[in-house]
Symmetry: C2
Subunit: 336 residues, 2 copies
């Protein structure tokens, strides 16, 4: 089994991507195909202190920058690392594709090359958020910025199936992320979506506020990619701000430097655990649901560790027949 | 000087509202006019262990529930506590109006009764978010769910003036909350707004991601009321989830119960300080900017303490001639 990695995508590419691939190969025996500019990648591999027989390179003459417009970039750059990697996946020369690059372009290219599932018009990125009652699936996390009601219904379906497959939840509770719980709240988009989801056989519980998400009120949170992205990045920002504010507060309130040192030492592991719980680099990548192929989206700021974990995640998804299960379960959801 | 309080609005009305008013009167000598159903409020006042000469009641025969549609409710319930309170404010019989009730209805009624400032089409709720570099103004926090680009430009203007008046910032840096920093990111609404704000004399720095907001990258964060509300409630949810997760983690990792007790005791004040920093009940209320009158919006779940602090906030705003300053500064922003 081989996993393709977009070596040119992300803020720290190609350095961290290559290092992450080497970690995954050396420590976990994962075969990785690096997709990108061959001379550049050869040079990067050469720089590393260790190499691996498990790493190979497939050349891609172009790459898509974060600032480019998705549809245009995908249409014009047929030799991009996204095109080359997804083509390999389509031909089953690799079994999964991992990218920390341009999310919108990845979605567009995946839909174009791999094709979408029959009942899905817009693929979506599904993430897991830790709550006080286990993990909750949140989608879309950024693939679709402007959505229509029926897209959100499809996200609800995919999210419900994902919660069932990954978290083992039967009849997962599905909520629409909103600015209140009353059915009169929300945007026009949300109020229409509300009525549509009610007509499906999903276990829809209505609107849910973000503060209730952390209490584990629902198993699946549905929102458009813009709101999902803001939600995710707010969590991320809060984790890092919280750690700093706590540190400052302890420091201010400790009467002696030695005592602060001791206290902070004891507390450091707790802060670290908190960070880990919400840290994307721990779970590495989120699947792009709704396309005929295993595609994983990494954070744009992915470190080597995040890349490594994304590759591990991709491998275990291939081994667990995630895609086949997901596609089979999708057929069970329908309008009642 | 008198402050009117919507005694019927919010999840814990009228009990917590009345208790909050009594606290504000007894501890801070604030004159409060309770607006609501007179017999009910008399009964509530009677229940309290202390009373105050500073509290009076003005009868309102109706109240607006959280589930009602704003425009319709405001049009049909002319005797609501919102109408009665805002009428008193208009006649200058009170100098500010505080409500933990239906946000949308409050905005609609305020615009209708008090009228908007000339250059403002949609009033907005402006909150303060603590960051690593002081407070950042965020608006709109929930008054306007569906916005047009020129509304967001008006929010940017009001937010900039607010940051100047309240936080003393000269040339406040204004950012548009987005899912990325590149100008190609965002919804159609945001990309159009971007171009419009660029043409003003505001210190516009472009798109900003929520995770950078906590780093204090900008002084003013502009978003529509839906996104603002999700942002605010995510912060709220994270603070409470973080505290619980930290507590659980310490408990799990402490080898003895006694040691946990000691450690947690030391740490409790730090967690409490963190909570306070982000706790809406500490600052109590956010001003509704853009109307001809001092209106403060409280959280729907306002406790007596939150109500008390909102009343304190309202009084100091009257004393500081906040509205006059704001309106004067608003005239200085223009298209360049």
């Amino acid at each position: 089994m081989k996993i393709a990695l977009d070596a040119m995508g992300g803020d720290f590419a190609p350095r961290e991507n290559v290092e992450g691939a080497l970690l995954a190969a050396r420590r976990y025996g994962i075969s990785v195909v690096l997709i990108g500019d061959e001379p550049t990648l050869r040079k990067e591999l050469h720089k590393s202190r260790f190499t691996s027989q498990l790493i190979e390179i497939v050349h891609a003459a172009e790459s898509i920058d974060m600032g480019e417009k998705s549809v245009q970039a995908v249409r014009e750059k047929k030799q991009s690392s996204l095109h080359v990697g997804l083509d390999l996946l389509k031909k089953n020369e690799v079994q999964a594709f991992v990218s920390p690059g341009h999310t919108g372009a990845l979605m567009t290219a995946s839909a174009l090359i791999l094709k979408r599932l029959d009942q899905v018009e817009r693929p979506a990125i599904a993430g897991l958020i830790p709550t006080l009652r286990g993990n909750t699936v949140v989608l879309d996390l950024g693939a679709n910025v402007d959505c229509k009601p029926h897209h959100l219904v499809q996200f609800a379906t995919m999210g419900s199936v994902y919660a069932h497959v990954i978290e083992g939840k039967t009849k997962p509770k599905v909520g629409l992320l909103c600015n209140g719980t009353e059915p009169t709240k929300g945007t026009e988009l949300l109020r229409t979506t509300y009525q549509l989801i009610e007509k499906t056989n999903l276990n829809f519980v209505g609107f849910v506020e973000s503060l209730d998400v952390f209490k584990g009120k629902v198993d699946v949170v549905v929102c458009d990619g813009f709101v999902g992205n803001v939600f995710l990045k707010t969590i991320e920002g809060m984790v890092s701000a919280t750690s700093i504010l706590i540190r400052q507060d302890i420091q201010r309130n400790m009467f002696s430097k030695a005592l602060f040192g001791l206290f902070y030492m004891l507390f450091k592991s707790t802060l670290k655990n908190l960070g880990k719980k919400f840290d994307y680099s721990e779970y590495g990548a989120a699947p792009l649901l709704g396309v005929n192929g295993l595609v994983f989206v990494c954070h744009g700021k992915s470190s080597r560790k995040a890349i490594q974990n994304a590759l591990i995640r991709a491998r275990s998804s291939v081994e667990g027949h995630f895609l086949e299960t997901l596609n089979r379960e999708m057929l069970k959801v329908h309008v009642v």
